[in-house]
Amino acid sequence: MPAASSARKPRILLAKPGLDGHDRGVKVVGMALRDAGMEVIYLGLRQSASSIVSAAQQEDVDLIGLSVLSGVHLAITARLIAERDQLGLQSVPVIVGGTIPADDAQELLRLGAAAVFPVGFDLAAMVDAVRELALGAREAANA
């Protein structure tokens, strides 16, 4: 592994897009990622796709995590990925958590999400997956 990728902790941006305020899950995820040695920036509630991707750019993050429990994950994720690509941040993976039926999880992956964590995901497995995705993204960006 090149020295550049291990020089800093993985930087993770978490946000709640849309109007949903159920933030129990995103906070648990944030605390678990911090305990696992990652740097977590939580943007908070009611974020638009453009505010999230511009924060991702400014903060130079390795991964964007969205939490949506109001059922609007498909539209919001599609918009966010389009805006991310417009900014040239294709190497920053997007993951989505929340109340997500299985068919929609498949659809999110097809839209370009790197991973989906519906209600009931395993916390330890999520932490491992996020670390791996974030480090992979760093390497790709440095390559």
Binding site: G18, L19, D20, G21, H22, D23, R24, K27, V28, G30, M31, A32, R34, V40, Y42, G44, L45, R46, S48, S70, G71, V72, A75, I76, T99, P101, A102, P118, V119, G120, D122, L123, A124
Partner: protein, 531 residues
């Protein structure tokens, strides 16, 4: 390891012994337990409880447009539901019209979209408001929704005095969980109290606020914290009203409460028995209540979504049954049972019917309603009721020492307690120390999903935007502008916002327009960072 000697505790950490005897009940216990319908109300708010009348079966529902939800309400009433409970979509809860850019994906999604008083009239089309108790889960925009409801009643020819139901209108708990706040905490409390004050003189059968621990609990706090948060919020509202010069006894009997019912069966029963006793003490000692009704706590019990699992979803039917039974044995006045499929979607018609049947079977077949407070006198339940009350009172005093609910919320203290507790719970499930059947025990590899899921109608948002356009085209713009300026004036001057909002509703002003009038005066709130 010898299982029998392992230390046990309740979900909120109260130690539980192997055996309880008369030694575990304090000598002054008979007075504290008392009689049902009499202070301190440990045994229930009414003398005859369910012998006289079963609890109100109130399934929360709403989606799409007013017409879509009206159909679901007719269905639920035909199925034997005894009252309505309106779920609003997020734009309505946040004071955004359906054509606002932030509302784009969310119109009609998690609840019904209501833009103007005309939508409210259509929501209750054919449903007589003088005969139906209606619950409104609405907070930041509660005065606007109340005004629309009053207009709907006027157009049905129903007098305000004969309306019954509940407006959630507990904005403080929105800063703790669910987070549909708009204005800063202090201004929000003022608006909530405007509603309570208005209703205290005009709507004698209506509960203008439902002070709620449910959402903080679902967001992860413990049962004892739930009680402490609820009463800290109650004290913030009551202090504000009393400071305004509204006599405590003029509104206190119409305060209602809302608690969660989760998995620790006896702790849930003990919690609501303790809650009644705590409120009786607060009302009497802090506010000098003279009317006994001001000291009588009545509550709505919401079974828990947070305890339900996506894995093996039918297990949730069993969890909900236990939670509903705990609510009944705790003496709830109304109950909502979750749909077993809520980890996936808003509940399907089938799952809502099963939730209602769960209540009906407990109420009509199980026999538990034949006598009042059947668990009274249990050494364990009485001892646990005392312990829950003592721990909750200690936390409440801690919050009051921080300056009370508004201060503690503004500083993010309570939000941090909730997040810490929910993280501890998530880790306990992850490491297996807290059993969760189908998740960390007896898990299967096969994917099990509910047979039928609710399918959102994506055209509902378009239809709602068309309804809003039509409503706007039919009104008198000058009358709306004049009414809105009255709302601005009331909000800015500190006089009660309700009368001007009601006038604005009558001339067709929208949720977004009325909320904007208040936003301009109060500003919008951004919450503190969680860490």
């Amino acid at each position: 390891m010898n299982r029998a000697t392992t230390e046990r505790q309740t979900e909120s950490g109260i130690p539980v012994k192997a055996l309880y005897t008369s030694d575990d009940i304090a000598s002054d216990s008979p007075a504290r337990i008392g009689a049902p319908g009499r202070p301190p109300f440990t045994r229930g708010p009414y003398e005859q409880m369910y012998r006289e009348r079963l609890w109100t079966m109130r399934q929360y529902s709403g989606f799409g447009s007013a017409e879509d939800t009206n159909q679901r309400y007719r269905y639920l009433l035909e199925q034997g539901q005894t009252a309505l409970s309106v779920a609003f979509d997020l734009p309505t809860q946040l004071g955004l019209d359906s054509d606002h850019e932030l509302a784009e994906d969310e119109v009609g999604r998690v609840g019904v979209a209501i833009d103007t008083a005309q939508d409210m009239c259509d929501l209750f089309d054919g449903l007589p408001l003088d005969q139906l108790s209606v619950n409104f889960t609405i907070n930041a925009t509660a005065p606007i929704i109340l005004a629309f409801y009053l207009v709907a009643a006027e157009r049905q020819g129903v007098a305000q005095a004969s309306l019954s139901g509940t407006l959630q209108n507990d904005i403080l708990k929105e800063f703790l969980a669910r987070k549909t706040f708009i204005f800063p905490p202090m201004e929000s409390v003022r608006v909530a109290c405007d509603v309570v004050e208005y209703c205290s003189t005009t709507l004698p059968r209506f509960n203008p606020i439902s002070i709620t621990g449910y959402h903080a609990r679902e967001a992860g706090c413990s049962a004892v914290q739930e009680l402490a948060f609820t009463f800290a919020d109650a004290i913030a509202y009551c202090d504000h009203l009393v400071a305004r010069g509204v006599p405590f006894d003029s509104f206190a009997s119409r305060l209602s409460f809302h608690f969660a019912s989760q998995m620790d069966f006896f702790e849930e029963v003990a919690k609501v028995r303790a809650a009644r006793r705590m409120w009786c003490t607060i009302a009497t000692e802090r506010y000098g209540a003279k009317d006994e009704n001001s000291t009588r706590l009545r509550f709505f019990s919401g079974c828990s979504g947070a305890t339900l699992t996506a894995q093996q979803p039918l297990n949730n039917v069993v969890r909900s049954t236990l939670q509903c039974l705990a609510a009944v044995l705790g003496g709830a006045q109304s109950i909502h049972v979750m749909g077993y499929d809520e980890a996936y979607e808003i509940p399907s018609e089938e799952s809502v019917r099963l939730a209602l049947r769960t209540q009906q079977i407990i109420g009509l077949e199980s026999g538990v309603t034949n006598t009042v407070d059947p668990l009274a006198g249990s050494y364990f339940v009485e001892s646990l009721t005392d312990s829950v009350q003592a721990k909750a009172t200690e936390i409440l005093e801690q919050i009051q020492a921080e300056g009370g609910a508004i201060e503690a919320i503004s500083a993010g203290v309570l939000q941090r307690w909730i997040a810490e507790n929910s993280y501890a719970e998530a880790r306990a499930i992850a490491d297996g120390s807290r059993p969760k059947v189908g998740v960390n025990l007896y898990a299967t590899d096969e994917e099990e999903v509910p047979a039928t899921l609710f399918t959102p109608d994506l055209s509902a948002a378009e239809r709602q935007r068309a309804r809003l356009d039509r409503a706007r085209s039919l009104r008198d713009p000058a009358a709306v502008a004049a009414a809105i300026s009255q709302v601005v004036q009331a909000a800015g001057s500190g006089s009660n916002v309700m009368p001007s909002i009601l006038d604005a509703a009558r001339v067709g002003a929208s949720v977004g327009e009325i909320a904007d009038a208040m936003r301009g005066q109060f500003g919008e709130y951004r919450e503190p960072q969680p860490w």
